[in-house]
């Protein structure tokens, strides 16, 4: 049987499947209502909205989502989770996107760049959270 030519790069498809596995979420359940983006406290810092991020993933595209740094800016506040009409755990999806990057031994924050004053002033949980979410 001849294979059907696909516009999706096999590597991207593998990444999307990996996201499904790591998040336990099915992005195809999303109906693109945009509620998650409307309530997202960090959406203005992202390259595009969380809804668009999910849309790209539905079409097997990971690279644009990485470029938009959605995973990096998601603060896991879970505001979208309690509002999603389709019951998708959106932070888990973007945690998986972030994990794709972190698991290549890539850090999204450099410890040496954090000002010494901040290290002395901020609460310990700020650093524990930052390093868990943004370092490999």
């Amino acid at each position: 049987m001849a294979s059907i030519p696909s516009p999706i790069h096999p590597e991207s498809l593998r990444a999307v499947n990996k996201i499904a596995e790591l998040s336990g979420q099915n992005v195809h359940e999303c109906m693109q209502c945009g509620t998650c983006s409307a309530v997202c406290p960090m959406v203005s810092s992202m390259g595009f909205t969380t809804r668009q991020g999910i849309h790209y993933l539905q079409f097997g595209q990971v690279e644009p989502v990485l470029q938009a740094r959605i995973g990096e800016f998601c603060a896991s506040c879970h505001t979208c989770v309690v509002r999603c009409p389709r019951g998708i755990d959106v932070p888990r999806v973007f945690e998986a996107v972030r994990q794709l990057v972190l698991r290549t031994n890539t850090d999204l924050v450099t410890l040496g760049d954090i000002p010494k004053d901040t290290l002395a002033e901020a609460p310990q949980i700020a650093f524990v959270s930052t390093f868990r979410k943004l370092t490999s």
Partner: protein, 250 residues
């Protein structure tokens, strides 16, 4: 004892061990360090005090059919049959530089110098690998909550071998952070030992000059006599034992 008899005796009790994957037969009662020398290795580095305190000869090993990692100091640990071992004499570790005189004994000093502390995930691999049975996770936890005194106490037996750092998921060098805590706690938080200061002043004031002068002026025979006749604490003495003579001590 003649050499032939020694060789015969050793050969009778040889056990197989694997050093970096190669099999050797070594006498069973030897320490890992002596066994390696017996096998023909020569220590240039990775060997220090040979007395279990310098931390230079940290060794990891596994036993046949056992998934667990075991550790020990090569100079202290006796070989076991079929042990697979390698020494890890050095493990690269980030050590902060600081001016101790101006360093404040506060949690913030530690947080600024070693922010990687906050990458601990409590996996406990450090405690499990420590050849000195230091509860490494417990002192890392104490450091994260800023308790320098507790960290100093818990880490007291650390010999800086670095095995904890070799296993750390957070990629920190726990033992250097603990050393900073011990320095800050010991040098700046612990109460000054007043009796030590007093004794130093007494010595400088010549409190023992006569006693020392007396010893110095003795002949070898006189010294031997004084030495053998000295008062000793009995091996099975009561807890309340005190010497009959104060030798000038107040």
């Amino acid at each position: 004892m003649d050499t032939a008899a020694l060789t015969e005796k050793v050969a009778a009790k040889a056990v197989p061990i694997y050093i970096m994957g190669k099999r050797y037969e070594v006498p069973e009662a030897l320490t890992i360090m002596k066994a390696m020398e017996y096998a023909g290795y020569q220590y240039i580095r990775g060997c220090g005090c040979r007395g279990g305190v310098c931390g230079a000869c940290a060794t990891v090993y596994r036993k046949a059919g056992d998934y667990k990692i075991y550790t020990g100091l090569a100079c202290q640990t006796v070989v076991e049959p079929d042990m697979y071992l390698a020494q890890i004499p050095f493990y690269p570790a980030n050590r902060a530089t600081y001016d101790f005189e101006s360093a404040e004994p506060t949690p913030e000093t530690v947080f600024k110098l070693y922010p990687e502390l906050f990458r601990c995930v409590a996996c406990n691999a450090c405690t499990k690998v420590c050849p000195m049975d230091v509860e490494v996770l417990d002192y890392v936890s104490a450091l994260k909550r800023g308790d320098l005194k507790a960290a100093a106490e818990i880490s007291f037996d650390c010999i800086q071998c670095g095995l904890c750092a070799s296993r750390c998921m957070g990629e920190m060098a726990q033992y250097h952070i603990a050393q900073l805590a011990r320095r800050l706690a010991g040098g700046k938080l612990a109460a000054k030992a007043e009796h030590l200061g007093k004794m130093c002043a007494d010595i400088e004031g010549g409190a023992f000059a006569d006693l020392l002068g007396g010893l110095k002026s003795m002949s070898v025979d006189e010294l031997k006599k004084v030495y053998t006749e000295r008062e000793m604490e009995p091996h099975m003495g009561a807890d309340e034992w005190t010497p009959a003579s104060s030798h000038g001590l107040a």
